[in-house]
Amino acid sequence: MTRGLGGAAARGIALPGLVAALAGLALLLALPVLLSASLLNAAIQMLIAALFACAFNLLCGQGGMLSFGHSAYFGVGVFATVHAMNALAGQGLLPTPLLPVVGALAGMVFGAIAGWFATQRTGTYFAMITLALAELVHALAPHIKGVFGGESGVSAMRMPAWGFSFGEGRHLYYMTLFWVLLALLLLYGYTRTPLGRLTLGLRENSHRLRFLGYNTHLLAVLVFTVSSMFSGLAGGLQAVNNELGNYVVFDANLSSSVVLNSYIGGVNMFLGPALGAALMTFFGLAVSDLTRSWLLYQGILFVVVMLFMPTGLAGLAQTWALARRRCGAQRLLPLVGAWLVALALLSLGTVFAIELLQQLFSTDYRAGVQAGAPWPAVRQFGRSWAPGAVTTWLVPLVLLATGTPLARWAGQRWAAALDADQGQDAPR
């Protein structure tokens, strides 16, 4: 039964869930031993992105307020923390591990002010106001050099504290992990408080809430403030890790990727956005060396997820659990296998075609083309491919032409299997 956040939060945590959570925690704690320095750095960025996405989703998925300008609150957290690092030099009341709190406070204050204006309206108008506020900050930041440091940004130094040097990735990783886990716990706890329940009511029917005696504007401002506070905390963590604040964090790019990541992960599940953000950040880092078309892949992924699994990646698990209960795993596993093969074929075909076209259209390649001579071959997947050869174009075509019917066949059989079972023991 898809009961979304409401049901999941109302039930207690079941035993298998607890075991999975402990296993996940153990894995996260063991990562510094298992990973190289660069991968550990990637893990830190994934954790920060996951926290930012969950903070965003409090507003978007739970409160039903789609913000297109959440980079503003993240960025304010970054700069507040960088300035705190410079002002206090890690001394006194704010040693390095506590610095992200400054980011959280700054995000909270800025969020309360911006939220008071943005939540005067709902729906499209709300989204437009958040976008406008973020663009305002984005446009102003390069001009206020004293605060935002201009092109080169504001840099800061991380100081040792509590016996840790914070010069090694390990120390930074554990500090980030601690804050992210604490914030996720608090955000999860929030969903079970009265304000957390009212947040869902705000999304479902704010008109009715007014006639039940609630001040919906106040509620919306509070939700906005909490969301901005945790976004600012994520920004603060990034500042401590990078020792740098640059106004590019206010770019609309960050605002849009948190929206895309959250929906890819699934906004209806508490950890869906964290999953989406962590995966997309990882792919972004892993793939950015291999391709120049990462943004295109990100966009394609978003469209595909929205078209074929609107509940996101986290929703897949729910769909699988539901289907398995109805038909049993034996009947469905071959279909999942076929579906995975189809997915691999389609992905390979798409990547092949995109990379080929991207190379052929690149300025480097165009410069090498001589009039009258055949176009030079391009290297891809460890082989050279002549643009004039039929086989070069046959490869992606065959991949796509076999993948598409296979995916359709698997989808139809899946639906048929569920339909056939409808009459027998369909749970209500």
């Binding site: 109302a10 706890g189 929030y190 009265p194 039940l212 919906t216």
Partner: protein
């Protein structure tokens, strides 16, 4: 206090040049069940919107327990003890039935901005929610999504949500619209039961329901109250028969 619980004095509402409510004077006595009837477009729903704060009056006064409430926000009016239901079902469709009602019950516990306590640890909230669910006979549908309830179950939920803040005055806007005969009988009994000790103003088209339920009836035609009285007085009122009941006699 023995005066009227709700007083409308010279109440007017215009939308641009069109006047929908043209000077309504009406007193609602504490504890009565008062029905508001009238042909389509007479302004019954507009009157409810004015009283509940959905719309601000153009002129005139609305007094609730002697205090002016005209133009206040819906939330403030609700907190003074005046709750309403809606003609078109107005619930939280993707939340469970229990959750729907709990949101309504929580309000009188004054916890709207609370983020430091778990909602299931609030004393009394669960008990009151369960009691209300039982009262409107929805206890069996506790975990169902509100959007998946049958139409009449949704209407019952709507009534329960209206009752949740323990209001002195309840406005019900066509609670029986679109129901079958059995559902209507059930709902009439339910309304009779849950409005014990409260004041009720109800808009309803079904005349059988109106005459069975109401202590007094007011007839609204073209934005004016043309008659107020007991069911018998209304039934025999010449102006009402002409303006309204005459048309209904055939149906």
């Amino acid at each position: 206090m023995t005066g009227p619980i709700l007083q409308l004095q010279g109440l007017r509402k215009s939308f641009g040049p069109t006047e929908i409510i043209c000077g309504v004077d009406l007193d609602i006595v504490p504890g009565e069940r008062h029905a508001l009837i009238g042909p389509n477009g007479a302004g019954k729903s507009t009157l409810f919107h004015l009283i509940s704060g959905n719309l601000a009056p153009t002129a005139g006064r609305i007094l609730f327990q002697g205090q002016p409430i005209g133009g206040l926000s819906p939330a403030l009016i609700n907190r003074r003890g005046l709750a309403r239901s809606f003609q078109v079902t107005n619930i939280f469709p993707k939340l469970t039935v229990f959750e729907n009602l709990r949101l309504a019950v929580m309000q009188r516990h004054g916890v709207q901005a609370m983020f430091w306590r778990r909602v299931d640890r609030l004393p009394g909230v669960r008990e009151q929610t369960e009691a209300l669910l039982a009262q409107v006979r929805l206890a069996a549908r506790h975990d169902a999504l509100a959007g998946e309830l049958s139409y009449s179950e949704q209407r019952s939920l709507e009534i329960a949500m209206t009752l949740a803040c323990d209001p002195q005055l309840i406005l019900l806007d066509e609670p029986m619209a679109g129901m079958s005969h059995e559902e209507i009988d059930h709902t009439v009994a339910l309304i009779r039961e849950v409005t014990q000790g409260r004041t009720l103003v109800i808009v309803e088209h079904d005349m059988a329901v109106v005459f069975a339920l109401a202590d007094r009836i007011s007839v609204l035609v073209y934005g004016q109250v043309i008659a107020t009285g007991t069911p018998d007085a209304i039934r025999n009122h010449a102006g009402v028969r002409e303006a309204y009941l005459g048309e209904e006699a055939g149906s």
